[in-house]
């Protein structure tokens, strides 16, 4: 069972969002960091994240949103995870998740209220996310 030594991440770009480059960068960064990555690509629906997470018994779901509609697209994801038996699975979100003049603290607060464990501001480096994943998945010191 060579794969299960690794933590499994489900990643993808949510909603009607076709920005593919960041998604590919994240895929490589996470894989490089030692995670097993299930990459759903672009235009991913909430249901697709959940289905993939169930089959792969994922340890976390990492949602990207680059086109400013992230808040609408992410609403209800936590509840659907609960419903599907993925209780407590870490949910992370990043990219350009909202548009308009607002401080990121407010945005982060709203995403946490929606059940996300972490929300990342625009321009966050993959290393930051990897660090957060290590912490959330209790991987102190060990390789992913």
């Amino acid at each position: 069972m060579e794969n299960r030594e690794k933590k499994v991440l489900v990643i993808g770009v949510i909603g009607a969002d076709v920005h593919a480059v960041g998604n590919k960068i994240l895929y490589h960064a996470f894989t490089e960091a030692g995670f097993e990555v299930v990459n759903l690509g672009v235009m991913v629906s909430q249901e697709e994240y959940i289905a993939a997470a169930i089959e792969s018994n994922a340890d976390a779901i990492v949602v990207s949103s680059l086109y400013g509609q992230g808040e609408l697209d992410c609403r209800g994801l936590r509840e659907k995870c609960d419903e599907a038996g993925l209780k407590g699975i870490p949910l992370l979100v990043g990219g350009n998740i909202v548009i308009g003049k607002q401080t990121f603290e407010d945005v982060e607060k709203r995403f946490k209220a929606m059940g996300f464990d972490r929300a990342f501001a625009p321009g966050t480096a993959p290393e930051t996310t990897i660090e957060a994943l290590r912490e959330l998945l209790h991987m102190d010191g060990e390789q992913a």
């Binding site: 069972m1 060579e2 794969n3 299960r4 499994v8 009607a16 969002d17 076709v18 920005h19 097993e36 299930v38 759903l40 690509g41 672009v42 235009m43 697709e48 289905a51 993939a52 169930i54 089959e55 792969s56 018994n57 994922a58 086109y67 400013g68």
Partner: protein
């Protein structure tokens, strides 16, 4: 002359095809009633007598057979998520030539077990979880199946981490472990499971179904009839060695109870601005529509197409359509012969059967407006570039309007989302040889291919038909 006998034990008819390998020709065909209740050899002997009347007392060097008698190969599947491993299990079974009589997802319940018992499957396919993924569901389902009396073999083809434990849980049952049908997310690996299903069919099912007496006559392999047809279509499309195939194709077999559709095509998106969703489908894909058929499932066609369209196409009044459909549903052996009303109705029914079945088989495309402009989302196979259509089935081979019926397999501006072939050459299997050629292809692929290319009747290009 080196003669080979090919037998298709159907649910109603035993169909015989005699082939001469040296001249690569069909010597003759014959059919008789299948006699599964008494001795399957009786029907076979009757058919052979008929065949010998036509072609003389030929001795056959080899004999091969396929069968869909006694209900065919009945399978029940269980997976985890319906759109993922659930779908993979279904595709694996259909591609192996099975009739899928039950599809389950997530955890099996006690009620499900009652239904499974009632469905009397010949084989159960137990899957779930990608490799290293979820084990909970497949283990639960194994434990549920373990409570049943061992009545059918179980093929385990799920998460490899759970395979051995499933086998232990199911001790006392006939269990076969195969590689995962979906080892990674979005990767389909159905061939090893299909091979195992055919082996079980050969070793076990044939005996259980009273076919073993016939098996004594056979030189080799016996497979489910749809698996033979799929093999024939694969060969016809892709060719073998120096003998080229005719390229990617769609084949439709409109039967009395079901309509089978085969596509031998890649079907992935054509353009960069198309996003593919769902699991990729097999290059050689088979689907069966259990509610679409010309007699036993005649009402399914009516429901799918609506009485209005059947009336339009046939030129019959709606009331008359309903009357005749009621009549045919109970008189399943009626053929139109010279009756113009029945002929018109069968034309409309066959057209709609093909349209509905191919629409369900083919993928679909959806337009979405994004910040980056217009984008397309594709699910299933894109068959728009497929240039060949092969049709078979009584209602298509006993009419002069075959091409006009086959045209309904094609793309229609009225349903632009359906990714059916845009225009295609139409080929008719008038002598009903597809299954036989699939059997022959196991040992003599080039010969089978050349015979098909000779025997299939060209019925023009759909574009000419349109104009």
């Amino acid at each position: 002359m080196k003669a080979v006998l090919l037998i298709d034990f159907g649910s109603t008819y035993t169909k015989l095809t005699a082939v001469d390998l040296d001249s690569e020709t069909i010597l003759g065909t014959a059919q008789s009633f299948t006699t599964i209740q008494t001795d399957i050899n009786d029907g076979l002997e009757n058919g052979l007598a008929l065949l010998r009347e036509k072609i003389g007392d030929v001795s056959f060097a080899e004999t091969y057979a396929c069968s869909s008698a006694a209900g065919g190969l009945r399978m029940v599947t269980s997976g985890l998520v319906p759109e993922l491993t659930g779908e993979a299990a279904k595709m694996a079974s259909l591609g192996a030539g099975a009739k899928v009589v039950g599809i389950y997802a997530f955890q099996l319940t006690e009620d499900d077990l009652d239904d499974i018992r009632a469905a009397k499957p010949d084989i159960f396919l137990l899957v779930g979880g990608t490799d290293g993924g979820n084990t909970e569901c497949i283990l639960h389902n194994a434990r549920m199946l373990a409570t049943m009396n061992p009545e059918f073999p179980i093929v385990v083809a799920g998460n490899r981490s759970a395979a051995r434990e499933c086998e232990r849980i199911l001790q006392g049952h006939e269990v076969y472990v195969c590689p995962n049908v979906m080892p990674k997310f979005g990767v389909l690996q159905v061939e090893p499971t299909q091979k195992k299903i055919r082996e079980i069919f050969l070793n076990r099912i044939i005996q259980a179904k009273g076919l073993s007496k016939a098996a004594a006559l056979l030189s080799d392999i016996m497979m489910p009839t749809p698996a033979a047809v799929l093999a024939a279509m694969d060969l016809l499309a892709q060719g073998k060695g120096d003998e080229p195939g005719i390229g990617e194709l769609v084949a439709v077999d409109v039967g009395g109870a079901t309509t089978d559709v085969y596509s031998i095509a890649d079907g992935m998106p054509e353009h960069m601005n198309t996003v593919f969703k769902g699991i990729p489908e097999p290059f050689a894909k088979r689907t069966v529509e259990g509610d679409i058929g010309m007699r036993y499932s005649i009402r399914g066609i009516l429901e799918a197409a609506g009485v209005h369209r059947i009336s339009q196409l046939s030129g019959l009044e709606e009331g008359r359509v309903e009357e005749l459909v009621d009549y045919l549903a109970t008189h399943t052996d009626v053929v139109p012969k010279e009756d113009p009303e029945l002929e018109a109705l069968d034309f409309a029914l066959a057209s709609m059967a093909i349209e509905e079945a191919v629409t369900r088989h083919a993928g679909a495309i959806e337009e979405t407006y994004t910040m980056m402009g217009l984008t397309y989302v594709q699910t299933g196979k894109n068959l728009t570039k497929v240039k060949q259509i092969v049709v078979t089935g009584g209602s298509l081979i006993h009419t002069k309007r075959t091409a006009a019926i086959a045209k309904h397999a094609l793309y229609s501006p009225a349903s632009p989302a359906s990714l059916r072939p845009k225009n295609a050459d139409v080929w008719v299997d008038r002598t009903y040889i597809l299954a036989a050629m699939g059997l022959l292809s196991a040992h003599y692929p080039e010969t089978a291919l050349r015979i098909m290319k000779k025997e299939l009747e060209y019925h023009g290009n759909s574009e000419q038909e349109n104009s």
